[in-house]
Symmetry: C2
Subunit: 197 residues, 2 copies
C-alpha cells in the first residue's frame, strides 16, 4: 500500500530530524495532519527561524541581531575570558553550570582536515583578531575526542603568540559515576590529574 504522494513526501522530509526513523516519521506525519494549527505553526516557525537567525559577528553563536546577548553584555567581557566550544548547544550546557561568566566563541565544528574543515571554516581568524585585545584567558571546552583534542592543540599554539593563558576543561570522574563502571581512559585521566587535599 502506498501513501498519497504529498503524505509520503512529508514522511520523507521529517527524516531530516535527528533520531527520527521511518516509523516515527509516519507517526509524526499523521499527527501533523490531525493538528492543523500545530502543523502551520511548525512550518511557519521553521521559515521564520531560517530568515531571522544568523551567526553573531563576534562569537558565531546563533542570534537574531548582529551580536548575541552575551557578546553585547559588558560584564561578560570585563574579565577577559573567552571559552571556545564546538557547537551552540555547548554554550547552553556551560551556562547551566553557573560556573562561567565570560564570553564564548562557537566554532560550529572541529578541525578535521580529512573532511576539508580547516581553520578558515571554523572562523579561527575571527577568534585570532579578538585575542589581540584585552584577552587574558582562553578556555578550551572542546570535547576530549580526536578532533576536539586536535582543535584544542591548534588553538593553544595560536594563543601562545599573544601570551594568553590557555586552559582546558579538567578530565576525570563524572559526578555520581561508579568507579567500576568507568572506562580505563577516563580513570587514567582521573589518576594522572589527581589533586592534593
Amino acid at each position: 500500500m502506498k501513501f498519497a504522494p504529498s503524505l509520503q513526501q512529508l514522511i520523507d522530509a521529517l527524516r531530516v530530524l535527528p533520531g527520527v526513523g521511518p516509523k516515527s516519521a509516519q507517526r509524526m506525519a499523521f499527527t501533523l495532519l490531525e493538528d492543523n494549527h500545530g502543523a502551520s505553526q511548525l512550518a511557519q516557525s521553521i521559515k521564520q527561524a531560517q530568515q531571522t537567525i544568523q551567526s553573531c559577528q563576534t562569537c558565531q553563536n546563533y542570534t537574531q541581531s548582529a551580536q548575541c546577548d552575551i557578546c553585547t553584555d559588558q560584564t561578560r567581557s570585563a574579565n577577559g575570558q573567552i571559552c571556545v566550544v564546538a557547537q551552540p548547544q555547548d554554550v547552553l550546557s556551560i551556562e547551566q553550570t553557573g560556573h562561567y561568566h565570560g564570553r564564548y566563541f562557537v566554532l560550529k565544528g572541529l578541525l578535521s582536515p580529512i573532511d576539508g574543515i580547516g581553520p578558515e571554516e571554523l572562523g579561527l581568524d575571527k577568534l585570532q583578531s579578538q585575542l589581540q585585545h584585552g584577552i587574558n584567558e582562553l578556555i578550551l571546552a572542546t570535547s576530549p575526542s580526536v578532533e576536539g583534542e586536535a582543535t584544542a592543540f591548534y588553538l593553544s599554539e595560536m594563543a601562545k603568540q599573544y601570551n594568553i593563558t590557555v586552559t582546558r576543561l579538567a578530565q576525570g570522574l563524572p559526578a555520581g559515576g561508579e568507579l567500576s563502571a568507568l572506562d580505563s581512559r577516563t580513570l587514567g585521566h582521573a589518576f594522572s590529574g589527581r589533586k592534593q587535599l
Copy 2:
C-alpha cells in the same frame, strides 16, 4: 541563558510532534538551522500536505483525490467486505499482513461520549449508507480497549439491521509471545477462544 526568540519559537513548535520532549526539540531545532535545504523541504512538505491531503469521500482515509486508491479499485469492492479501523495508520498495518483484499472505513477516532465523540463525529452515517449496497461482511478491527469495544458493539448493532455478517478480529496469543510474559486478560481471551485442531 535564553535562546534567540525565533529559535525558542521553533523549539516550542517542534513539541507538537509526538514523542518530542524539550531536549529533543532543542536538538532538532539546531539540526534544522544547520541543514537549510532539509528545513525548507520540511516546511514546504508540511504546507503542501495540509493543502492537498483530504479525507476520501467513501472511506475517510487520507488521500489526494476525492476517492482513495483502495476505494477506486474495483477488485477491492468485489467481495463486499468493509473493514472498520480507528486510524489511517491501521490501514497500513492490515495491508502489510496481506490477509485482506476488501475495502476499509477509517473512523479517525472511537466513540467516546465523555469527550463528545458520537456517531456523527466518526462519520457513521456515511458508513451506514454504504452498508445498504452489496456489503455482506463488516469486519470490526478496532483495538480491544474500552472505547474500541464500545465502538465495535455500536457498529455490530447497526449492521444487524441490514442482515450483514459482523466479525471481530480474534484475540489471543501474539506471534512469538512467551506464555509467562503475557497478561492474564490476553491469556484468558486465548483460552476462551481456543480452537479444535
